[in-house]
Symmetry: C2
Subunit: 202 residues, 2 copies
């Protein structure tokens, strides 16, 4: 490895270290209560160093969310060869929930934290953001279900948002309420996905 490559790699490692520290602190102490200085302290760097990587806290949060969405998109893509869109939807929903339960801090930061207002958050909605891409993945599977008459002629946008709400609901409750006397989790998760699908069948 040449010195330039080594330097690039070191930068990438530090960047990831900052992201990991920020994610943990945002979840534990709340986004509003964490300063760039606090994140720097945690990984024992100067705030100045952190600012070389992320211009401010909102930028950091944006990249944390993009990281989560990128992981989700990758998972969705692994199902693309599947020819039955219903099966694809079922597996995609299941993968989303499993992802949230496996990486609760990623999930919390991206989908559950209250967040300050301002323009930065608009970036989540831009066409090219990973967040938008992740949602569009879900949307295109739903669209295919309608096109192949697996679903009634429902509104694709509303249906996609409804699926997102349903799978977010079970993921976030299982994370937030671990002591509730839940039914067997596997059964509950599959039941929600199947009920939504059955409710839309042609």
């Amino acid at each position: 490895m040449g010195p330039r490559e080594r330097r690039e790699r070191e930068k990438e490692v530090l960047r990831q270290e900052i992201l990991d520290a920020a994610r943990e602190l945002f979840v534990k102490e709340g986004y509003e209560n964490v300063s760039m200085r606090r994140i720097a302290e945690k990984i024992e760097y100067s705030p100045t160093t952190i600012y070389l990587y992320f211009q401010d806290k909102a930028e950091l949060l944006y990249h944390l969310c993009e990281e989560t969405f990128a992981k989700l998109v990758k998972t969705f893509e692994s199902f693309e060869d599947n020819s039955d869109p219903l099966n694809c939807l079922r597996r995609g929903c299941r993968a989303y929930i499993d992802f949230g339960l496996k990486y609760p801090n990623h999930y919390r930061v991206t989908f559950m934290l209250p967040r300050e207002g301002g323009e930065k958050r608009e970036r989540f909605l831009q066409e090219k953001s990973m967040g938008r891409q992740a949602f569009n993945h879900l949307r295109s599977i739903v669209e295919e279900c309608v096109r192949q008459n697996k679903f009634r002629r429902v509104d694709v946008e509303v249906t996609s948002q409804a699926f997102w709400a349903a799978i977010h609901g079970v993921t976030s409750l299982l994370i937030t309420k671990p002591k509730f006397p839940w039914a067997e989790k596997n059964k509950l998760i599959n039941f929600i996905i199947d009920t939504m699908i059955d409710g839309l069948k042609a």
Copy 2:
């Protein structure tokens, strides 16, 4: 009003003031980051006074949640004269979501905050807690839907948890992601409830 009544009333007013301050601070700064002292400061009383009403922070949180659940139970009860259990379920789900959107801080404190472990949280699960009562309300409506053959012979417990997850999902996403390009909210909310119901029909 006699002096004793007046004193009782003053106590009730202060108790509510403490609850309101705690709810606001827990949501804004995170449960873990708020001390009893901080709550006392906010309403300009001494911490000692607050401790006369609530023995600790967990006790305060418990009562905040009970307050939310009590409001929910009251809403559910107002639909009890309705003879069609499907309609009752539809209206109950709708009322739950409307409640969350109308009182986002009550909703956040009760259903969305990460929470420390420990024994106190077990109290939410006790048979007589308002939380359990609220869930049991939902459960009894679902049970009635199965009994009257409005639903297939589904597992009542799993189905009730699935409904809770679905309505929690849309409520919490609408609270957390106000800038997402949602479909018309009314349409989205009704669509989720109707899809779940359709997916369970006999």
